[in-house]
């Protein structure tokens, strides 16, 4: 319990910075929504957009969503929130495993009268709480910013769905980074591989946006597992939800086993 408290305290300062960034991102982004009602003269913009090839839409920055509606506009902002969430969780994951080794304070913590698994467990839990906090705050800010717009539309369901997506995908990358950090020999490499995998997923997401035949590419672009249009329609893709959860659990279990066996090396 003491370890958990300490870890949370260590995480707090960086957490506040991220929350501040989140606040600016969501409020600055959402205030500009004006809606483009009535420009199409009767035809819905979605009908027009559906005629345009995907690659062109991607260039125009609205692959698959209609940014003239509030829901579509919000999903653009929510995607950036997702990016922030994942970068933050990579940072948290790497810190949970390797911070003490990099700071050369591990001799202190790992001589405490509790097992290595327990120590790692507490550290992982502390980071995970930060992810929960990040998700909850993103939902609160989204709700407030939509309310501030004063439109009558009810966005609560979409906000909650996006909250779930941010949480699931952040946890996935959190698990990935912890996995990389426990399996790589050098302490710093965990963060490196975590970031690289995120960068790769990001670029695969753009490729997925630009090309129509996305079925195979979709599997390796986690950022596009839950597409904006499905979320706006109120659906979470069950298959990918299960894939994410299973992957997270497997990676975590494997990492814990691995961490127990690892020797602690002075970096």
């Amino acid at each position: 319990m003491n370890i958990l408290k300490r870890e949370c305290k260590v995480n707090l300062k960086v957490f506040l910075f991220w929350i501040l960034g989140l606040l600016v991102l969501i409020f600055a982004g959402m205030t500009k929504y004006t809606g483009l009602y009535g420009v199409t003269g009767g035809t819905s913009i979605n009908d027009l957009l559906s005629q345009i090839p995907k690659v062109v839409l991607a260039v125009f920055g609205m692959a698959g969503v209609d940014i003239t509606t509030l829901a579509g506009y919000y999903s653009v902002i929510a995607f950036y929130v997702l990016i922030c969430g994942i970068i933050y969780s990579v940072h948290l994951g790497a810190n949970a495993v390797s911070r003490e080794v990099i700071d050369k304070t591990y001799e202190f913590i790992f001589t405490k009268p509790c097992s290595k698994k327990y120590v790692l467990g507490m550290k992982v839990l502390a980071g995970w709480l930060a992810i929960v906090g990040f998700t909850v705050m993103s939902m609160v800010f989204s709700y407030a910013s939509v309310a501030a717009l004063g439109t009558e539309e009810n966005m609560n369901k979409l906000i909650i769905l996006y909250g779930i997506v941010v949480f699931i995908l952040s946890s996935l990358f959190y698990a990935f980074t912890i996995f990389f950090a426990t399996t790589s020999k050098k302490a710093e490499k965990g963060m490196l591989y975590g970031n690289l995998s995120f960068l790769l997923a990001f670029i695969m997401g753009i490729v997925h946006d630009m090309l129509d035949n996305g079925t195979a590419i979709k599997w390796i672009s986690p950022l596009k597992y839950f597409e904006a249009n499905d979320l706006i329609a109120g659906k979470l893709d069950g298959v990918f939800l299960i894939v994410c959860l299973c992957l997270t659990v497997v990676l975590m279990v494997f990492s814990f086993e691995r961490f127990q066996q690892n020797d602690l090396q002075a970096s």
Binding site: A28, I52, V59, F60, H91, E188, M210
Partner: protein, 266 residues
């Protein structure tokens, strides 16, 4: 000279990896996707004639221009710049913060070389890495330009447009140097670099969304926008000034800090 060769050598592998990543990005976008894009562009232009007038105005940009090669490069540039900016921050951090990270500042500072000279050599090393990488990038970019069958009249402008990446990287190099001298503790180079790169990316996206003129000044990806060059043949002077301001502020304050900072015991 010893320090220079050491710094450059230590960067060789990461230089190779990031250069390949950079070139792959530009080849995928400009070589792979552009032909598909250009093909569908003709149909779209036809189709858009039938659209209601207000629809095109709502997007607030010149459609014909966006369908040009420069327009597509300008779109791809955001992603290319993302990779390039991460690379630049990594170069700056690993050269300027290595001793701090490994807690051996006392080692390098006891060498028979003054701190200003050390700062100069490190700057030179990072500059030469970035410049070399940009020469390769510009050549490949031009090759892809010709392979796409673009006319040579605009080639001069395109070279200028692709050199914008160098200036963008210089801005991020300065930001990286600033971070490495002012941050108290540096645990991971890649983590900081990714954060800086994506913050710049999100700022760009926000600036595009908000269309606030003032916001462009804090979005480094906007300083050297390729589209302006392709259309007008030069960069916008106010953003060049902004870039010079950022670079000199970061480098100047880092220099002072580097010269005067105390070395802490481990």
């Amino acid at each position: 000279m010893n320090i220079f060769t050491y710094e450059v050598k230590s960067q060789a592998r990461s230089f190779l990896v990031w250069n390949v990543a950079l070139l792959l990005t530009v080849i995928i976008f400009m070589g792979g996707v552009y032909p598909i894009y250009a093909e569908s562009a003709q149909d779209i232009l036809e189709m858009m004639k039938g659209f209601p007038e207000g629809f095109l105005e709502a997007f607030g940009f010149n459609i014909a221009c966006l369908f040009s090669y420069g327009g597509f490069y300008s779109f791809s540039y955001v992603y290319i710049a993302l990779v390039a900016s991460i690379m630049a921050v990594i170069v700056a951090l690993s050269i300027f913060a290595r001793e701090k990270k490994m807690k051996c500042l006392d080692f390098i500072f006891t060498k028979p070389i003054s701190r200003p000279a050390l700062f100069g050599i490190k700057t030179l090393a990072s500059l030469s890495i970035v410049i070399l990488s940009n020469i390769i990038y510009s050549i490949i970019n031009l090759v892809v330009y010709y392979l796409n069958g673009q006319d040579s009249e605009m080639a001069g402008r395109f070279v200028l447009a692709s050199s914008g990446l160098l200036f963008t990287q210089l801005v991020f190099l300065a930001i990286g140097v600033f971070l490495s001298t002012f941050m108290k503790k540096i645990r991971s180079v890649s983590g900081i670099a990714t954060s800086v790169g994506f913050i710049a990316f999100i700022l760009t996206a926000l600036a595009n969304l908000l269309e606030e003129e003032a916001m462009y000044f804090i979005t480094p990806f906007k300083y050297f926008d390729p589209l302006t060059v392709m259309e007008e043949g030069h960069y916008e002077v106010k953003y060049i000034i902004a870039a010079i301001f950022v670079i000199s502020l970061c480098m100047g304050s880092s220099y002072v800090r580097f010269i005067k900072s105390d070395v802490h015991a481990v």
